[in-house]
């Protein structure tokens, strides 16, 4: 097996990189894929919390990079799935505790064991970003539909163009129906037009996402959430299925709202 290593990045903090990593990972695992999540946000780790796997951490990414343990020893196994593992970030170090070569080595060690290796990237464009990107062959850029996040996503896409990596795919997170949109919120189509990359999916803004993170139970496990459906569709698209962007994402009422958001006449 030769797994794909995908970095999930954004530039700006708080737009949903960790949420996206956790939920795409969960959705892929629900499809029977072997998935390994790597948290590279050293010093601010929280993918373990969102996944509900924080209490069993003994070793972390820095331990594995520095050879204090084998990479396999640092993995946390998620018992809810056949194969969903997490390599947690260190909490007490900083981003410079790992370098790109070490990251590449870790990814190469894991690659034969998994279908997907998802790398949760820290905010910013410095060392942490460089580490996260160094091991990846694909990238997913996450943004929210606001000017500042889109500006940072654009910056990140520019930096990714200099890397030996496929053209990134876009996830627009926290999309609201037009009724609750206000002020500085952009249309998804404007976001896609500016960034000029393929749209992999969009995730609605939903209170369940926050509650799920709080419970340590990724929203993708909940079959009754619209955000969950969004993540499951992204997983199917990553597996090569062509899932129409809007058609099945939402329940009827929301669907019609989305259609008007996209200017599609029903």
């Amino acid at each position: 097996m030769v797994g794909e290593a995908i970095v999930i990045t954004s530039g700006k903090g708080g737009v949903g990189k960790t949420t996206t990593s956790a939920n795409i990972g969960t959705a892929l695992a629900l499809q029977g894929q072997k998935v390994c999540l790597i948290d590279t946000d050293i010093g601010l780790r929280n993918l373990d919390v969102v996944m509900g796997l924080e209490n069993r951490i003994i070793y972390d990414l820095v331990d594995a990079a520095e050879g204090r343990c084998k990479v396999q020893q640092a993995l946390i196994r998620d018992k809810r799935f056949d194969c969903l593992h997490l390599l947690p970030a260190a909490q007490t170090k900083d981003k410079s505790a790992v370098n790109p070569e070490q990251m590449q080595e870790i990814v190469e060690t894991l690659r034969p064991e998994y279908d997907f290796i998802l790398i949760d990237c820290p905010a910013g464009i410095e060392q942490g970003f460089k580490n996260a990107v160094s091991g990846a062959d694909k990238a997913i850029v996450v943004t929210t539909p606001d000017t500042a996040a889109v500006r940072d996503a654009d910056r990140i896409i520019g930096l990714l163009e200099n890397e030996d990596i496929e053209p990134p795919k876009l996830v627009v997170n926290r999309v609201r129906s037009d009724l609750s949109r206000e002020g500085n919120v952009l249309d998804v189509e404007d976001v896609v037009a500016t960034l000029a990359v393929d749209l992999l999916g969009m995730i609605v803004d939903e209170e369940h996402v926050l509650k799920a993170a709080h419970k340590g139970e990724p929203i993708a496990m909940n079959p009754n959430s619209r955000a969950s459906l969004g993540y499951r569709n992204i997983a199917r698209r990553l597996l090569g299925e062509s899932v129409p962007l809007m058609a099945v994402e939402e329940k009827k009422s929301f669907f019609s709202k989305m259609k008007s958001l996209f200017g599609i006449k029903s």
């Binding site: 000017t147 940072d152 896409i157 520019g158 500016t194 000029a196």
Partner: protein, 230 residues
């Protein structure tokens, strides 16, 4: 060889005024000595009359900056002569390279994204957008086949006749030489309208109070012809 029959320096009167033609075969030292002598000899010619503008023609001699200054100094000493121009047919490879660069159009097929700076000597043709936070700089003109949503700086070495042209003109900022255009901030104006509807170009207008104005692209030829006369 000091006796050269005074052949190295010739003073000619032309329609434009006086031209001092310098021999381009002798050594610079000999040339300068003779120029000094000749000026001394002709002192009367310059002394009482009104100030004359002269043009110096060095022919096929390469003149370094310091050579040029020495010649100018000798002439300016007379008090009544002002050197308008020192001309030479010869330039260094470096200078020639610069002239070529300034006359070239570099075409680039990419999106200039936030945080990226694209800087070129001469003109730039961008096939793609310039996104907010992206910067394009040229000593000449800038042409964007796409949307200009970031910053464009044309004529960065002082060419105020340079233009910035774009299919969709929604710049955050444009500068041409030292004249600036700033888009209104969002709190000043809710609606972010293009600076001009449809394809357009930005240019410098005004004599005393310079400002950047926008015009439809179809008028660009007219503008370029009008400035080539000035």
């Amino acid at each position: 060889m000091t006796n050269n029959n005074g052949n190295y320096v010739t003073i000619k009167g032309t329609k434009e005024g006086l031209t001092i033609v310098l021999n381009d075969q002798c050594s610079f030292h000999e040339l300068l000595e003779e120029l000094k002598k000749k000026i001394e000899r002709e002192q009367r010619l310059f002394e009482n009359g009104p100030q004359v503008e002269v043009r110096v023609d060095a022919g096929n001699r390469y003149l370094s900056k310091s050579h040029e200054e020495e010649i100018t100094e000798v002439l300016n000493k007379t008090g009544s002569v002002r050197v308008h121009e020192v001309h030479s047919n010869v330039m260094t490879k470096g200078e020639a390279q610069e002239v070529i660069e300034k006359a070239t159009v570099t075409s680039v097929t990419q999106i200039v994204r936030s945080g990226q700076v694209l800087r070129k000597t001469g003109d730039i043709l961008i096939i793609g957008d310039v996104n907010p936070g992206g910067v394009v700089e040229a000593t000449g003109n800038i042409y964007v086949i796409g949307a200009l949503k970031g910053i464009a700086r044309a004529g960065t070495e002082g060419e105020s006749h340079a233009v910035v042209c774009a299919s969709v003109m929604i710049p955050k900022q444009i500068s041409i030489s030292d004249t600036y255009f700033y888009a209104p901030e969002k709190h000043e104006k809710q609606e972010q309208k293009p600076a001009i509807e449809g394809p357009g170009y930005a240019y410098v207008t005004g004599e005393e109070y310079k400002a950047i104005a926008f015009e439809e692209t179809k008028m660009l030829g007219h503008y370029l012809r009008s400035v080539s006369y000035t």
